[in-house]
Amino acid sequence: QQQVRQSPQSLTVWEGETAILNCSYENSAFDYFPWYQQFPGEGPALLISILSVSDKKEDGRFTIFFNKREKKLSLHIADSQPGDSATYFCAASFLPGTGSNRLTFGKGTKFSLIP
């Protein structure tokens, strides 16, 4: 059973456009949702994260919108730049004391810009 789902599998936009990457999850006990950015040959690096008590988190051009009732979240990349081309993983975990420490990852969205 896929606990964290991402769509689309791949996404291509024009430079300067806003890209929307979607994520949904199964376990309503998940409380912490980080998005990781991974470039080829590198490990994933934390981009931005949100706790389930919030419905929005903004950091520069990156914004997470979170809907706890529907168990969905999305990552918006505003003013897309060539350096944003990467694979983006949505992940989920529990908060301390409520469950395990593991991160459960989605399959990722491969994001690129039209040259």
């Binding site: 409380d31 912490y32 980080p34 990781y36 040959g41 590198e42 490990g43 994933p44 690096a45 934390l46 994260s49 706790l51 694979t87 993983f89 992940a91 975990s93 529990f94 908060l95 301390p96 409520t98 469950g99 395990s100 420490n101 593991r102 991160l103 459960t104 990852f105 989605g106 399959k107 990722g108």
Partner: protein
């Protein structure tokens, strides 16, 4: 930023042989992890290690797998014996505290079992 170092970056090994993957976590981090990634797909949790003990492991953490971190040295993942399906990229990670905090990943070790 903080770096997790993994050695080697690539290892080719004959099926049935033993392999040890080495990780140098971020200093002062207390939690250590191994994740497995196949063909650029999703990361799969293997094991979480804290205070000298395995805290949690997944179904992917087979009996042939073991982890340890002798004082002041690498955090290691040992596979003995290796199988063809163990071919993957193994990522080591560490975090200063447990769930809900930033986890830092290394660049991974690509293991090829032939």
């Amino acid at each position: 930023g903080p770096k997790v170092l993994q050695i080697p970056s690539h290892q080719i090994i004959d099926m049935g042989q033993m392999v040890t993957l080495n990780c140098d976590p971020v200093s002062n981090h207390l939690y250590f992890y191994w994740y497995k990634q196949i063909l650029g797909q999703q990361m799969e949790f293997l094991v979480n290690f804290y205070n000298g003990k395995v805290m949690e492991k997944s179904k992917l953490f087979k009996d042939q797998f073991s982890v340890e971190r002798p004082d002041g040295s690498y955090f290691t993942l040992k596979i003995q014996p290796t199988a063809l399906e163990d071919s993957a990229v193994y990522f080591c990670a560490s975090s200063p505290s447990g769930a809900g905090t930033e986890v830092f990943f290394g660049k991974g070790t690509r293991l090829t079992v032939v």
